[in-house]
Amino acid sequence: MKKLNCFPGLVKYQNFYFLLIFLLNFYSCHNKQLSSNNQILYWSSNNTYEIEFSRAVVKEWNRLNPDQRVKFQPVPEGQSSEEVILAAVVGKTTPDIYSNMWQGDVEAYADAGVLVALDTLPGFLEFLNLRCDSQTIAEVTSRDGHIYQIPWKINPIMLISNVNMMKKIGFVTPPVTYSEFLKAGESFKKDIDGDGYVDQWVGYSEVMVRWWQRFFDFYPLYLAASHGAPLVRNNKILFDNIFAVNVFKFLQILYERNYFSKERLSARQDVFLSGVIATRFTGPWEIMHAENFKPEGFEYEFSPVPVPDEFKGEPYTYCDPKNIVIFNTCKDPKIAWEFLKMLTTKEKDLLFLEMTNQLPRRQNIAEDPFFENYFNRNPKMLPFARQAKFVKGTDTSPVLKEIFDIISQEYEACVVYSKKSPEQAIADAAKAARLIVY
């Protein structure tokens, strides 16, 4: 390269440039989490408390099984853990075990063949029958009859109420039926600063049309009203029924009469804690948040989401289930399974409760005397534990996201903007959904 000698500076510059590129590639690769040779790689969610819990369990396992070590990492930070997992699947850099898999994602991954069929592991079905009731087990069984996930933890959606403000409008206990809730809406609606615009509403639900928002309004209410009916089963759309229509109707009235605000209140500061709204559909994570940020004298309580007036029995709700899966990049699923058996014992479930305030998806957790002490010390978790008997996760379908997106579009048009009747909206949604289910 004779010409380069003419300008020595260029040589240095070029070399430096290539070195830089090499270092960049190397450095970014280093950020990828690759399974080590003999170790089982285990990812948990990056919730601080779950990380502590996982570390503790992994430490104990490694102490007892020094030649079958488990390496623990929180799932890498990203926009959402679902995206990070998908990126890992695509790049074939998945861990061996992942414990924060949203139940709705599993079917698509199962179809793609990246998950281990757990029911082929020794002792799995017996274990599952002890841990969960038959309804839950049916829920996590895939369309091909195999089971690819262990039900791990749930966060049931319930109604949180501002005790003091509700008392002021005559509600000593939270509203139970649609009518009661509407009455609360009317009483609570107020224009505080006299500018002619309402600035106080009984509740709020996210008006943005993101498909997963419906898990916090439409879906819990639908499950409550219908005793846990499915939206789709075996590729058949089943949600065009009277329950869905009534839920849409109820929510539509809330927006029409301005009991729920149409403005995107979530772009403001926390409106429940600041008293702008009196109730919210939320989960156990709210407890930590409220304790951190609530003002002086603020009191709150949890109750099931509203049900139709004629309703009888126990209301169901959505539980945001997160489950454990083993990816097929795992070299030794049997050892992974041994580790998981230890992770999901009763003792570990209690430890999980203590450390993270999230409910393990174990049957009868509210009645089991093993957990009594915990609930005595954490009474705010008790409503959730009782609700845990009547929860539903997600239906088994690889196009769940698309179905919820369709429902969300109709939700916006009907419920928020009253452009269609509830009957029409549900019918349109079902029609569109039938086109994409295959």
């Binding site: 010409k3 440039y17 590129i21 450095y27 890498p76 930070e77 990126a87 790049g91 500061q269 948040h289």
Partner: protein, 269 residues
């Protein structure tokens, strides 16, 4: 009389263009409860928004990432752009016109069509969640090449002939002779490329999922839109303010160059 009127209009105009920034900065420094009522000044100033922001997101890491990526892209565009521009303007070779047409073609090609396939290529190359995925697709820039070509065409031929007689290679002619004489072109292309790559958000959102590799605008976007801020406005405003600060500082010092660069670009179109 007319002049007073003129000044009033201009002052109103300046307010319209500057007030939103002032509001944002003051709001980011206000206590959480006052933000929604803020018009000009809060009762007290507080840094809690910034404190919380630093705790929640790796904002300085993102700043470093943006800096690294933008500098690399700018360096690449300057080097490669001037190389190709020089070849197109001053050297004779077969296929010169063809390449020129290809470059014009790529300038008119809307990115909407290459977006998805380019992502898939990144996946196949393993450049997802990798600096290379952010930098390499942007290393060549048709606009930069055209700018350099045009500028080099306006330089006197004697300059180059003299260097050739001295027995210098083409590389030395480019970097040793043309570059020092093309400062305006280098500055223009440099500033515009840097600015464009710094502010680019769509591509990082597509290619980077790992928080530690995110660029600054990307991190702020996700923070502002997502739930990590726990509905606290002050934190989000702080992140938006801090995103604006580097460019505003650069702008305050180099304002003339910014404006000139974009103006000359406009003229050339």
């Amino acid at each position: 009389m007319k002049r007073i009127f003129l000044h009033i209009i201009l002052i109103v105009g300046a307010i319209v263009f500057l007030y939103p920034f002032l509001w944002m900065v003051t709001a980011s420094l206000s206590p959480e409860s006052e933000i929604t009522k803020l018009t000009f000044l809060p009762s007290t100033f507080t840094l809690t928004g910034y404190q919380q922001m630093v705790e929640k997101i790796p904002i300085f890491r993102a700043f470093f990432n943006s800096l690294l990526v933008s500098l690399s892209i700018t360096a690449g565009v300057l080097v490669f752009g001037s190389m190709v521009g020089y070849a197109l303007s001053r050297l004779r070779f077969r296929g010169r016109n063809l390449i020129f047409f290809i470059i014009i073609f790529t300038m008119t090609l809307p990115f909407q069509i290459t977006l998805i396939p380019q992502y898939i290529i990144m996946v196949k190359l393993g450049w997802v969640d990798n600096y290379l995925g952010l930098i390499v697709p942007y290393l060549m820039n048709a606009f930069g090449i055209i700018m350099f070509r045009q500028y080099f065409m306006s330089l006197p031929q004697d300059l180059i002939d003299a260097a050739r007689i001295d027995g210098c290679s083409e590389a030395r002619i480019l970097f040793g002779v043309l570059w020092p004489n093309s400062i305006p072109a280098l500055v223009t292309v440099g500033i515009i490329t840097f600015m464009a790559s710094w502010n680019e958000v769509l591509w990082p959102l597509i290619v980077i999922r790992n928080e530690n590799l995110m660029t600054m605008p990307q991190l702020v976007t996700l923070f502002v839109v997502g739930g990590r801020a726990e509905s606290q406005l002050g934190v989000k405003l702080a992140s938006a303010t801090i995103l604006a600060v580097p460019i505003i500082i650069a702008y305050m010092f180099f304002q003339r160059y910014f404006i000139q660069s974009m103006a000359t670009t406009g003229m050339k179109e």
